[in-house]
Symmetry: C2
Subunit: 200 residues, 2 copies
């Protein structure tokens, strides 16, 4: 198997969620795994001067219309959460904890956390809720809950976020295929062609 | 023929240019014409707090890479102009002048102006250059040049831009199909399905 497709995402990003439901099948069609990279968009927004899409005049109203429409288009269940956006340190740290234990087994956890927020309207910014969801996805609840307050994991997340921004990540989802950057689920067609032909 | 697809665009928008090369065939597959609506993104940016993509940290570098890649993906010729972004009142006013004379015959003019800028590196913000291009596309050079300084056409463009923003337009290209809004060439797949099924 060739190098994994790097999938950078923020747990508060609705387009990141939609893409998380599609990226594995896309990668698998080209014999690739997915390297799940949680990041904190708020840190990137300090560099780009951006803010959560839904808060921007005009663009916010469009986004609230486009996200559920895009979910229908892609056949992905979606319910806009009551609380949005949320801080995503808690679920991101759980994923980092899981990655340290078994980097090949993050997909179930990531998708469970994303669905808890964007389908079941559960507030995964709450450490106890995030740990509950991790437990339902098969992880140790105690381990997941402790990871959220673990200074080493906090540091690791900070380093990952800084590294992602240094790599050029400014949105979610943000995908790298052999170093080639693609922003958004809107680029999945290009990613598909890139994976098939090694460029275009 | 059913109602035309409304295509809002700014002449300084590279994604608007790429989309301008694709929208007619898309609309025609569903027995629709294209209603070409030049707008001034700078005015919308005052509402959204945005700015030209290439000037934004991180996003700018990505955009400069993504635009030529997207042009290759869509099979559209593209050369990044030496002067970017540009003010687009001159070409926009020529299109409004043409629309007032024959609303069904704007495509040739729009595409000639866009190609002059994004393929031939001609500065269409210059009224004389814009009028030259219009003449090459079959319009009266004198009429096109005079339109740029015509107070009635200046007013008409201001009204059009305000109306577009009131309609929710904040980017380029921005397309309406029977009132349904779609932002970006990235939404062409969704537009295609919407046109085929009247929604989804």
């Amino acid at each position: 198997m060739r190098s994994a497709v790097q999938f950078h995402f923020d747990f508060s990003s609705p387009y990141g969620y939609l893409a998380s439901e599609k990226i594995e099948a896309l990668a698998a069609r080209h014999d690739r795994a997915v390297d799940w990279r949680p990041m904190l968009l708020g840190v990137a927004f300090k560099t780009t001067g951006s803010q959560p899409l839904t808060l921007i005049p005009l663009k916010g109203a469009y986004t609230k219309h486009d996200v559920p429409r895009s979910a229908r288009f892609h056949g992905v269940p979606f319910n806009m959460p009551a609380k949005f956006p949320i801080a995503t340190q808690a679920p991101a740290r759980i994923v980092l904890w899981q990655r340290a234990r078994d980097p090949g087994d993050c997909a179930t956890l990531v998708k469970a956390l994303y669905r808890a927020y964007f389908v079941a309207n559960r507030d995964i910014s709450d450490p106890d809720v995030a740990a509950d969801v991790a437990a339902e996805a098969g992880a140790s609840r105690e381990g997941a809950r402790a990871a959220i307050d673990d200074p080493a994991i906090k540091d690791a997340l900070r380093r990952d976020v800084d590294a992602a921004i240094a790599q050029g990540v400014f949105g979610s989802p943000f995908i790298f295929v052999d170093g080639e950057p693609f922003w958004g689920i809107d680029r999945f067609e290009q990613i598909e062609r890139w994976l098939a032909h090694g460029g275009f």
